[in-house]
């Protein structure tokens, strides 16, 4: 019994999860600390205490009661919206994770996400279905679900093509993929703006909304709810989350149960050794980036195919946050596709907490972005945290065997 327990704590996976949990805790603590300091110097302690409670329990917030105190409990709208917002970050997280497994840092997820969004919206709005309602466009006999499918597929393909560019540059010309990804990100931001600027998909029906293009529902296209709206009534949830989870499982199978996955990981571990073993390293690098791009593209596609979100097309000055949030998700999940599901859900939970903080206190949602940034910062040296965990265990073992004099200067832990 006892032996089992020690081996569980010694396992590398356990330590990695522990390191992630520590990162999350420190992140939340830093967020709370900022609120606390503001409470002391600026607002009131009562405000700060409410803010801190919402940082941790925002998902369960049900507003305020008549006495003005915060109430907590199960909130179907919050849960449903959390699942809805988790969909794109799970997919961009998967995107970053797959590339990471092949030893590539895919900071290009925002660009791939954007290209996926643009292709999807273009297809969903320009193939007229039976329910087409854009003025001047005639409905056809194609059912909306077929258009939905084509649009999703098109988004994934566009993302894959965009992701393959840095992959090709890396494989053929040995250009650092981080730099290539940053450049392609901004190229895509300008391309998408250019494309919608000259397109006729700008929303002119609801003229109070300038700068947005039509929702896909104007063509009758929307992701099926798959009964989730019954469980979480009043929320934005739809079947996209199920597709995202299925894709995560598919990526897990790809990476752990197939030859291709093995080859991808081999290239990540040591590109040159893999080549020596007869694995086509260049092909695998391009393929890995293309898969990563397709996943990020699917994220953009599913987010906007929901039909209840609008795309602000003049996006040349900023990149979508969902793309960048894939990075912390993958880092938190230690590139494990199943872990990405939970990390993505956690990120969107923070997002929901942020909204509650904005609505209910004098603070605002950006505190959760600070928390996410702190978590990313910590995961940059999660290896060090892991080493510290290892170090403590080793110390304990070493202390019983030898008088470890040299270890005193390492790890900083007290003997």
């Amino acid at each position: 019994m006892n032996e089992n327990r020690t081996s569980f704590w010694k396992k590398d996976g356990t330590r990695s999860v522990l390191a992630s949990l520590i990162s999350i805790l420190i992140g939340l603590a830093v967020g709370s600390l900022i609120i606390l300091l503001l409470g002391i110097f600026n607002t009131s302690m009562k405000d700060a205490w409410e803010g801190i409670r919402l940082v941790f329990l925002g998902l369960f917030s049900t507003g305020r009661n008549t006495a003005g105190a915060l109430t907590f409990g199960f909130n179907g709208i919050n849960f449903g919206n959390m699942l809805f917002r988790a969909t794109p970050v799970i997919l961009t997280g998967l995107s970053v994770a797959v590339a990471n497994k092949t030893g590539l840092f895919n900071i290009g997820a925002p660009g791939q996400y954007l290209m996926g969004t643009a292709a999807t919206l273009f297809l969903a709005l320009s193939i007229p279905s039976t329910k087409m309602a854009i003025p001047g466009v005639n409905p056809s006999s194609i059912p909306p679900i077929a258009v939905w499918f084509i649009a999703l597929l098109g988004g994934m393909l566009a993302g894959a093509a965009w992701g393959a560019i840095p992959g090709l540059l890396k494989a053929l010309l040995n250009i650092n993929e981080v730099i290539a990804c940053i450049m392609t990100n901004w190229i895509s931001a300008n391309l998408v703006t250019w494309f919608f600027d000259v397109s006729n998909l700008k929303n002119i029906v609801e003229n109070t909304k300038s700068g947005y293009i039509y929702k896909t529902t104007i063509n009758g296209v929307a992701t099926p709810k798959m009964g989730l709206d019954k469980i979480f009534p009043g929320s934005q949830v739809n079947g996209g989350i199920i597709i995202a989870i299925l894709l995560a499982v598919a990526v897990y199978i790809l990476l752990t149960r197939t030859t291709l996955g093995y080859e991808l990981k081999a290239c990540g571990a040591n590109r040159f050794a893999a080549r020596y073993a007869g694995i086509k390293d260049k092909r695998n690098i391009v393929l890995s980036m293309a898969i990563a791009g397709a996943l990020a593209g699917a994220g953009g596609a599913l987010y906007y195919l929901a039909g209840n979100t609008e795309f602000f097309w003049s996006t040349y000055q900023s990149l979508p946050a969902e793309g960048f949030n894939g990075i912390p998700v993958a880092l938190l999940a230690i590139n494990n596709p199943i872990g990405v599901i939970f990390a993505g859900a956690f990120m969107s939970m923070l997002n929901i907490s942020g909204l509650q903080i904005t609505n209910l206190t004098s603070f605002n949602e950006y505190i959760t972005d600070v928390i996410i940034a702190v978590i990313v910062y910590l995961s940059a040296f999660s290896l060090v945290i892991k080493l510290m965990l290892n170090g403590r265990k080793k110390k304990r073992a070493a202390a019983s065997v030898v008088d470890d004099a040299k270890g005193a200067d390492k790890g900083g832990s007290k003997a």
């Binding site: 840092f105 250009i175 300008n190 250019w194 600070v370 940059a380």
Partner: protein
Amino acid sequence: MSFLIRQTLIYAVPLMIVALAGVFAERSGIINLALEGLMIFGAFIGVLFVRIMQQAGVFETSMGVLPLQGFMLLSMLVSAVLGAVFSLLLAFAAINLRADQTIGGTALNLMAPALVLFFIRIIANQNTLQMASGDAASWFMIKKSMFGYGRGQEMGFLGSTFVDKVYLSTYICILIYIVLSIILYKTKFGLRLRSCGENPQASASLGINVYKMRYCGVIISGALAGMGGFVYAMTTANCTSNGDVAGFGFLALAVMIFGNWKPLNISGAALLFGLFKCIAASYSSLDINGDGVYLLAQLNINPNFYRLLPYLITLLVLAFTSKSSRAPKAEGIPYDQSTR
């Protein structure tokens, strides 16, 4: 023409100084992906400083030309100092903890807009921090009236290009740029700093403290990027801060790579990219030689084309010069004393 040169300079100068920030970090061996974040932070600090001082009544627009320009320099200094402080986060992670520099930089890029927007929302109750009253950018602008020229009087080509409607910060930045480039190439300190980016083990064997040199590189980088952020906000964003510098930090990264990590090439690249930015921003009203013909508007190229051109060119340059690219050899590799 003078409008074109003036505007190009306004865009090029922050690019140049922030690209030099990148050079100092990378030449010391630390990849500084956080330029964007540092700019955002610097812009916020500078604007906040001006706003607080104005609200406290420390300076008045009627206080005369020289004190006003001095005050602007002080604001630049404040944003540089706090930019340097913010960059310590990257330095600590990358140098002491041997963390992944790319992820560390990304973290700072996420942290800066989040922190900045969090505080802006609390201070101003909206997403943009601007002056409580008045138009800050025009306080600091040098105008011909300051030299006794009247409304109708012309200053001549040189005057109207380089003296009228310009900011002192432009020239200060160019001066700093030249001085720091000389320091990097012609002094003992610069040589040592560069050696740490090429072969830190060899530098250490000659008695150079690699940790100290890399800290210097990152701190100088943070100061320059923070200052560049404020200069950007003051000259192109009307002295406001909204947690965004429109990708200028990443553009500076492109400038640095395009300029092959060498100051002279970088200044050329910055001017080129600044010209593109200028054209994209004002192509429809740009009258190049003053004969009433709007050449660029007649070309009828979408402004987005000019906007994406710098990134595309950088990618192409990388593709064609990847064999001869002179990136510092040890950049991105954490220095470990025991591998000496």
